[in-house]
Symmetry: C2
Subunit: 256 residues, 2 copies
């Protein structure tokens, strides 16, 4: 192992057996030493959840050729924390999360376990990237993402990452889509128009499945949804300071 090769921590939220993390691994092993710590089962939509009320388990995985790999019983953020503080005992040079099966554009960044792993990396001061392919097909052709993954990861390693920021990278997908380029932009203001599919069990008691449609009412041009629609990969620099600075003075004027 050359000391020149960066140490890369790889995780995701679709689980260690997913196709997307395999594709990401194949690209990352070309540019660094890779260690994989990923959930042992799907953890989509777990957001920034961490496991505090039950213990975590780590099992060695032998699915990644010679690379050290672990399947973790927890969430993507748990994987990052275990990686840094238990397995590596130091901060890796880069955290890459994904490639997610499905878009993490717009407000989906808040629900996404894949992106929360990258945000956790930023909180630790580590260069971090979340990659997502805009297809929910578990058997999608992830090779279309490889050029973008390599280009973004190598840029992140050779440039200074802005402080307290990680990258949310989405890659368009479709039969006739050729990725036209990469655009740096902001999170669109879309949202889920939720509904619940109410069913009844064998005792005639109700249960509910969350469902719904994603709506984009953002007509601004430089958003992630705008560029994905046009066939470009999008990069949203993403921060964990959620303060609405513009609102501070307005609220100060209330009778508090």
């Amino acid at each position: 192992m050359s000391s020149e090769r960066p140490l890369i921590l790889l995780t995701n939220d679709d689980g260690i057996s997913a196709k997307g993390i395999r594709c990401l691994y194949e690209e990352m092993i070309k540019i660094g030493e890779v260690i994989i710590i990923a959930p042992d089962s799907p953890q989509s939509a777990m957001g920034h959840a961490i496991t505090i009320s039950k213990p975590l388990r780590l099992e060695r995985s032998y699915l990644f050729n010679g690379s050290e790999a672990y399947a973790c019983s927890g969430t993507p953020v748990d994987c990052v924390k275990l990686g840094i503080y238990e397995i590596l005992g130091r901060k890796p040079d880069l955290i890459v999360s994904g490639i997610n099966h499905g878009a993490n554009t717009s407000t989906n960044v808040l629900y996404s376990g894949t992106m929360s792993a990258a945000v956790e990396g930023a909180m630790e001061g580590i260069r971090s990237i979340g990659f997502s392919l805009c297809s929910f097909d578990t058997d999608a052709d992830f090779s279309v993402a490889k050029d973008v993954v390599r280009k973004v990861a190598t840029n992140v390693l050779k440039n200074e990452m802005p402080e307290r920021v990680c990258l949310n990278v989405n890659i368009p997908y479709g039969k006739s889509v050729n990725v036209k380029g990469i655009r740096v932009c902001n999170q669109a203001h879309g949202f889920w128009e939720d509904s619940f599919d109410k069913r009844f069990d064998q005792f005639n008691k109700p249960y509910y499945w969350l469902t719904g449609d994603f709506l984009n009412q953002d007509t601004a041009e430089n958003t992630d949804l705008y560029w994905i629609e046009k066939g470009y990969a999008s990069i949203v620099p993403t921060q964990f300071d959620m303060t609405a600075y513009d609102a501070i003075n307005e609220i100060k004027s209330w009778s508090l």
Copy 2:
């Protein structure tokens, strides 16, 4: 029921039986019609997680006098979604979440189920507030929070809430603490210095408990941690647009 009284949806992440939500209920019932939809068990640190891989359950709860109440098998964000789209069939006038057992200052906002419920409310365009008491004692005296809760909630109802913003309210706690006032401020840049307590089960296989210390390295004056330390309640206007706008131009200069 007077049509003048606002409809208030109440939730939390400590679970429907917690002391904090009882205190919040007692204040909210004075100013509006209240419906409670809260997790049936503790959901602390669940962040913005939603339940998509198993169905959700709702059980009627009779713990809140005459008010309609449900215990939900899901996360705080699930509670908000079920409340709006399944139980109420319309958007409430106000969502209040808490009172959380423990501070949600600084970067804890990202891990907090209590605050994620409020953020979800903001995403729905509903006035939303998360309240937290800076004590992890499950039997803490929540009455010290009542003045702040009432003052903030009535202000939110009578003023225009800034668009796409909710409030993260933390209330100081301690033997000799009298809440000196309320300060509108920004999220401090603190972080968790994590560690894991590694133990071995009866088969001598390891398991891990997440632990650690919270560190504040933010010396700025107008942060939530700064004001809490000085005995003030803090309000951080909190947004769900996580774009790091300042970083866009810098990343555009890379060789992408």
